[in-house]
Every structure is written in structure tokens, then in C-alpha cells.
């Protein structure tokens, strides 16, 4: 990649921004170094999608002004249903780049759980954050976009669960995009120490119809020995938003990381979801549902890398594509040498609803160890007329029959989302998108 790239903000700007936010020195340095490296680092190369003409980098504002929410009552109507007032005791709401609302239950605070916005985390928990921030899961110099992410970081959340703490109720983050001029460089860290467990669910939701926003999201999910992290997400960013999403997990010995991702953006999206099964006996499960519509192009790479012995990885992706949208699924199961007795399974299915829809599912197994098991299944096809005929033969009209088949097709992921309200939202989003 030698394309000339003009960055909108220079070293001076970034340094003063970081200082203004009261960030520790290491973060200021990381920003500045990353900005420098971004010049020469290559763009990510999603298989089967050309992104050289996509604009991830040109934008005018690093920060837009937004107001806080004094109470949940003030939330926009689109956001309210996401929050279960009875059970959501721990919620972070970010409005564009502004930490707008935060609540963490007293019980969890007492147990030493930290849940806060990224700015506060860097000020108050700088040393702890440093341990995780772009150190082990996602590196700042992975590619041009991760470097720009580090340089332009302007939001996100930090969730830290100490040793032996089990959190039953889901921890929720809502990233509200209600300003068409906002650009999100959001960083989320979910770190669970040994023997702890947590359920984290995030929503990216646009309430503007369309925007030229640049979104560059990095999530790092780090599970210590025997820890369990369930990570749920529903992304519904508006048409026109160009998104780079990099969600990466690192599982220690006997740790479990489970992803349930509803990726429903209406703009062009490049998504990487990687799980590193570092420890022996670790477990990774990556479930994704996608709906593509309009003329959007989306590329989803899900990768599970086995280093530990007896590690198990499961990838399940289902996507529906309509109109002239494109959805590419790349599934990669990689078993490194020494990861004996490991198991890598994957299944990717794409259902196309129109003649112009494009879908592709590429299963890849890369295996450097003999004593392992692995399997893959992939299919790309249209709605089975036999299924529609069967449903219609019971009196169900064609449109309703199609709706049932599509919902059924996406159900394996939808049904495992851990928060009822979010699950309902995902069902509604799907309903809207496939209509």
C-alpha cells in the first residue's frame, strides 16, 4: 500500500489532546508513536474484499460536543428498550465521544470490579490499563488502522474483574451515535482475572439515518486462567458509516471466551474477530449473525488460533444478504504446532434473498499439529423453495413463510445473546432489515 494518505491531525494536536484529557505519559507516547507508524504500516487485507478505495481516514472532527444524560429517562426512545431497568445495574452509555452516563452497582464496586469510560480509566487506573491496552491481544502496529486507532482513541470502556469474582448480571455498554459528524475511535477492554466470570454486552446504535462517520473499533478481551467471558454485541451503525471492527480475545489456561455478535451495520464494514487460545484447555466460541442490504459491502473474518493443548474452538456464522449487498465470510481455524488434542470446528452459511445479492463463505483450516480434530461446513445459497412450499401448504402466506425461514436461519446466534432486551432488539433489527 503506497497510497498517499493525508492524516487529518498531526503529532502536536494528538499530544495536546492527550494532555488535555489528563492521560498518562505512556498513552500519549503510544498515540504519537502510532501516528508515526501509521504512515508506513499496510492496510488490513480482508480476503476477497478490495478496500483500497474505502475511506477510513478522512474526517474533520476528532471530538463532537454532546450532552450527558442525567438519568435513563432522558435517553432517546430508540435506546430505552435496550436497558432493562430492573436488571441493568451496571451500564455505561457513551454519546458520540462523550461519556454520558455510568452506573456500576455498589456490590460490584465493593468486590473491586472496575467499569468506567476509557478517559477515566486512563486517568484513574493508568497502570492497570497499561497492562492490557494494546499489549497482548491487539497490537497498535498490527496494521495502519490499528495504529490510527491508537493515535486517535476518543472513547470506549474499561471493564476489569478481579480474581475469583463471578458477576451474574450482564454488564452493558451502549455507544450512541446521534451526530452525523461524530467519528468513533472506541476502545473496549474486558479483562477477567483468574477464576472470574462476566457477561458483557455492547450496542453500537446510530439514531441518525445516514452519516459519513468513520468508526474504528478495537475490543480486547482477556480471560485469565479458568475465567469465563461472554461477549455479546449488536452493531447497528447507520448507512454511510465506514467501520473497521477488530474484536480480539486472549484465553489463558482453561479459560473460555464466547462471542455472540449481531453485526447489523448499514454501512460498509470490515470486521475481524480473533480468539487466541493461548492456554491449555482453553475454549473459544464465536457466533456471528449478519444481514446485508442496500449496496453495502461487508467482510467478516473470524479466526480462532490454537496454541494450548486440548483447546477447543467453534465458529458459527450465519448471514442473510438482500438487494445488491455483499457479505463475505472468512473463517479460519488455525492449530499451531504443539497444540495437540485440540479441536477446530467451523460452520458458515450465507442465504441470499435476491439475484443481485452477493455472498461468499470461505472456510480455512491451517493445521501444524498431527494429533487434532477439525471440521468445517460452509454453504452459500438461496431460500429453499421446498421449505417455502411446505410452510405455505399449511396456510402461511409467502412473505410470512420467508420471514420464518430467515429468522430460523439466524436463530442459532440470536437465541444465545445474553440480555433479553438486546436479543429482542436484534430480532427487531433483523425484522426491519429483511423486510
Amino acid at each position: 500500500m503506497t497510497t498517499e494518505m493525508k492524516l487529518p491531525f498531526d503529532q502536536e494536536y494528538i499530544t495536546s489532546f492527550s494532555k488535555e484529557m489528563g492521560e498518562p505519559e505512556w498513552l500519549t507516547e503510544l498515540r504519537v508513536q502510532s501516528l508515526e507508524k501509521a504512515d508506513t504500516l499496510p492496510m488490513p487485507r480482508p480476503d476477497k474484499t478490495k478496500i483500497n478505495k474505502w475511506n477510513f481516514t478522512h474526517f474533520n472532527k476528532l471530538i463532537v460536543k454532546s450532552d450527558e444524560f442525567k438519568s435513563l429517562e432522558e435517553l432517546p426512545e430508540a435506546v430505552k428498550p435496550l436497558i432493562d431497568a430492573d436488571h441493568s445495574n451496571s451500564v455505561y452509555i457513551q454519546r458520540n465521544n462523550k461519556p454520558a452516563y455510568l452506573k456500576l452497582s455498589a456490590e460490584l464496586q465493593e468486590k473491586g470490579v472496575i467499569f468506567t469510560d476509557m478517559y477515566t480509566a486512563s486517568r484513574m487506573h493508568g497502570d492497570l490499563l497499561k497492562k492490557y491496552f494494546m499489549q497482548s491481544a491487539v497490537k497498535a502496529d498490527e496494521n495502519k488502522l490499528t495504529a490510527l486507532h491508537a493515535a486517535f482513541l476518543n472513547g470506549g470502556a474499561f471493564l476489569y474483574v478481579p480474581k475469583n469474582v463471578t458477576i451474574e448480571e450482564p454488564i452493558q455498554a451502549i455507544f450512541l451515535h446521534d451526530d452525523a459528524e461524530a467519528n468513533l475511535f472506541n476502545h473496549v477492554i474486558v479483562a477477567a482475572e483468574d477464576n472470574s466470570s462476566v457477561v458483557y454486552v455492547e450496542n453500537y446504535i446510530s439514531t441518525v439515518d445516514s452519516a459519513d462517520s468513520k468508526v474504528n473499533i478495537v475490543s480486547e478481551v482477556i480471560a485469565g486462567a479458568n475465567a469465563r467471558i461472554q461477549y455479546g454485541a449488536v452493531d447497528t451503525l447507520a448507512k454511510g458509516v465506514t467501520a473497521y471492527v477488530n474484536r480480539k480475545g486472549l484465553a489463558g489456561r482453561d479459560a473460555q471466551i464466547e462471542w455472540a455478535l449481531g453485526q447489523m451495520n448499514d454501512g460498509n464494514t470490515i470486521s475481524e474477530n480473533v480468539t487466541l487460545l493461548q492456554g491449555d484447555g482453553s475454549y473459544g466460541d464465536a457466533k456471528t449473525v449478519v444481514v446485508g442490504r442496500g449496496d453495502q459491502v461487508q467482510n467478516f473474518t473470524t479466526k480462532i488460533i490454537h496454541h494450548g493443548k486440548n483447546s477447543e474452538g467453534f465458529i458459527l456464522k450465519h448471514g442473510v444478504v438482500k438487494e445488491s449487498a455483499t457479505v463475505i465470510f472468512n473463517g479460519i481455524g488455525k492449530i499451531e504446532q504443539g497444540a495437540s488434542k485440540s479441536n477446530a470446528e467451523q460452520e458458515s452459511r450465507v442465504l441470499m434473498l435476491s439475484e443481485k445479492a452477493r455472498g461468499d463463505a470461505n472456510p480455512i483450516l491451517l493445521i501444524d499439529e498431527d494429533d487434532v480434530t477439525a471440521g468445517h461446513a460452509a454453504s452459500v445459497g438461496r431460500v429453499d423453495p421446498g421449505q417455502l412450499y411446505y410452510l405455505m401448504s399449511r396456510g402461511i402466506p409467502q412473505a410470512e413463510a420467508e420471514r420464518l425461514v430467515i429468522h430460523g436461519f439466524l436463530a442459532p446466534v440470536v437465541n444465545v445473546l445474553p440480555i433479553e432486551g438486546v436479543k429482542k432488539q436484534l430480532v427487531e433489527v433483523i425484522e426491519r432489515k429483511v423486510k
Binding site: 429453499d384 423453495p385 421446498g386 421449505q387 412450499y389 411446505y390 410452510l391 405455505m392 401448504s393 399449511r394 396456510g395 402461511i396 402466506p397 409467502q398 410470512e400 413463510a401 420464518l404 425461514v405 429468522h407 430460523g408 436461519f409 439466524l410 436463530a411 442459532p412
Partner: protein, 261 residues
């Protein structure tokens, strides 16, 4: 209200340009059970698919009416809502859609908006019919036919029949692949439906189903036509003597229409 009447007149049906049915005439009335028998490849399943409106089958001549209404003008779902039901030989599997949700949609498709069946009433009805058919109650929450055994699928077809309560049902080889216990249960379900308001056309290779369900009329299909009709005694004779005597009587050498139908 007296039962409905399904009338099939001079029905000719093509699949992929090949004529399979060559002038079928048949009338099924509420209160009657008809059995269509015949060797493989004589057009029996084609008849059932054509009545239901499977898109692969093209009617080139003749008429199908239900209580005088032109069935051929209707879409598949309209035919179902008009009162037709087809118990399929190979029911589709539909992942992610539970048996219960599917059946509720089917029942509600017959009701006006705002007059949907209440959830409690639906569950009670479904539970009692499942018990009647000796089905595991868990099957309500399993995905439609997914991973069901052959016998479970057939029982599930009968469950749908009992839940939907059509005017006229066609059961296409509902007995194939069933062990004797399942066969008894399936028969029990069909017998339970028997009433003045319900007519049934059972398509089968085997006489043994008719040991449990006594038909009023028995028809034999060959070469894409109904070649012989009679009462229950006709089925008995077919069981003991096979089909050769009919072929000889009618001078038929090859009874098939050249396609597995």
C-alpha cells in the same frame, strides 16, 4: 354445515415437460375416506402435489375445485386456507423455527388480525393432541422436523392435521417407513379426524394401513389415470393378488408413466 367437496376433473399434469397425469377424475366429499393405491411411478404423488400447487408441477388440462371454487387459481397458501391439507411424504426440515411457533403461525393465518388464538388455548390444544399421538411434549419446542426420525416426521404431519383441522386432507404415503406402533398411532389420529366435515384421500402402496383405517372408496392408479375404483374389498384383493390381474384385465404392460412420481 355439510362437508366440503374436492372435485378433480380430467386432470393432466406435466413435470419438466413430461406428462405424468393423463386425465384423472376423482371426487372426495366430507365424511369420506378414499385410498389411492398403485405401484411406484404411476402418478400418485404427482396428483397430491398438483392439488396442493407445488410449483414444479404444471397443470395443462382439467380442473380442480373445492366446493365449486377454482383451486388452480389459488396460490399454495390460499389453497391451504380454503381447507386443503397435504400430509407430505418428505416433510421439509426448517431450522430455527420451533414446531409450536410454526403451528401457531399456521393457525393464525386462518384468523383475522386481532382474533389470533390465545397462547394458553393453543398450548392446551397442542399438548392434548401430542399426548393423543404419544409424542414427546419436548417436540413442541424442537425445530420443525429437524433431526426428527422418519416416524416422528409422520406423526408430526398428523399433529399438524389435527391442529389445523382442514376440510379435505391428502396424505401422501403417510405410512411409509413406519413401524407397527407408529402406524397404529398415525391411524388413530386419522380416525380421530373422521367426521362429516372431514374428507380424506390416503395415498399408499400398502394395504396394511387400511387394516387400521377402513376406506369408503379404493382407487387404483396406473399410467397417470385412475384405472379402477371400488370399495374396501378392492384393497383386500390387491393385498392377496397384487396388481397383475388389473393389468391383464386392462391390457396394460407397463403401468408406470416413466418417472418416479
Amino acid at each position: 354445515m355439510a362437508g366440503s367437496v374436492l372435485t378433480i376433473k380430467d386432470l393432466h399434469v406435466e413435470i419438466e415437460g413430461k406428462e405424468i397425469l393423463k386425465g384423472v377424475n376423482l371426487e372426495v366429499k366430507g365424511g369420506e375416506i378414499h385410498a389411492i393405491m398403485g405401484p411406484n411411478g404411476t402418478g400418485k404423488s404427482t396428483l397430491s402435489s398438483a392439488v396442493m400447487g407445488h410449483p414444479k408441477y404444471k397443470v395443462t388440462q382439467g380442473t380442480i375445485t373445492l366446493d365449486g371454487e377454482d383451486v388452480l387459481e389459488m396460490e399454495v397458501d390460499e389453497r391451504a386456507r380454503a381447507g386443503l391439507f397435504l400430509g407430505m411424504q418428505y416433510p421439509s426440515e426448517i431450522s430455527g423455527v420451533t414446531n409450536a411457533d410454526f403451528l401457531r403461525s399456521a393457525i393464525n393465518s386462518r384468523r383475522e388480525e386481532g382474533k389470533e388464538i390465545s397462547l394458553m388455548k393453543f398450548i392446551r390444544k397442542m399438548d392434548s393432541q401430542m399426548e393423543f399421538l404419544e409424542m414427546d411434549l419436548d417436540m413442541a419446542q424442537r425445530y420443525l422436523n429437524e433431526g426428527f426420525s422418519g416416524g416422528e416426521k409422520k406423526r408430526n404431519e398428523i399433529l399438524q392435521l389435527m391442529m389445523i383441522e382442514p376440510k379435505i386432507a391428502i396424505l401422501d404415503e403417510i405410512d411409509s417407513g413406519l413401524d407397527i406402533d407408529a402406524l397404529k398411532v398415525v391411524s388413530k389420529g386419522i380416525n380421530e379426524m373422521r367426521s362429516e366435515d372431514f374428507g380424506c384421500l390416503i395415498i399408499t402402496h400398502y394395504q396394511r394401513l387400511l387394516n387400521y383405517i377402513t376406506p369408503d372408496h379404493v382407487h387404483v392408479m396406473m399410467q397417470g389415470r385412475v384405472v379402477k375404483s371400488g370399495g374396501p374389498e378392492l384393497a383386500q384383493r390387491l393385498e392377496t393378488e397384487g396388481y397383475d390381474w388389473i393389468k391383464q384385465e386392462l391390457g396394460i404392460e407397463d403401468e408406470t408413466v416413466g418417472l418416479e412420481a
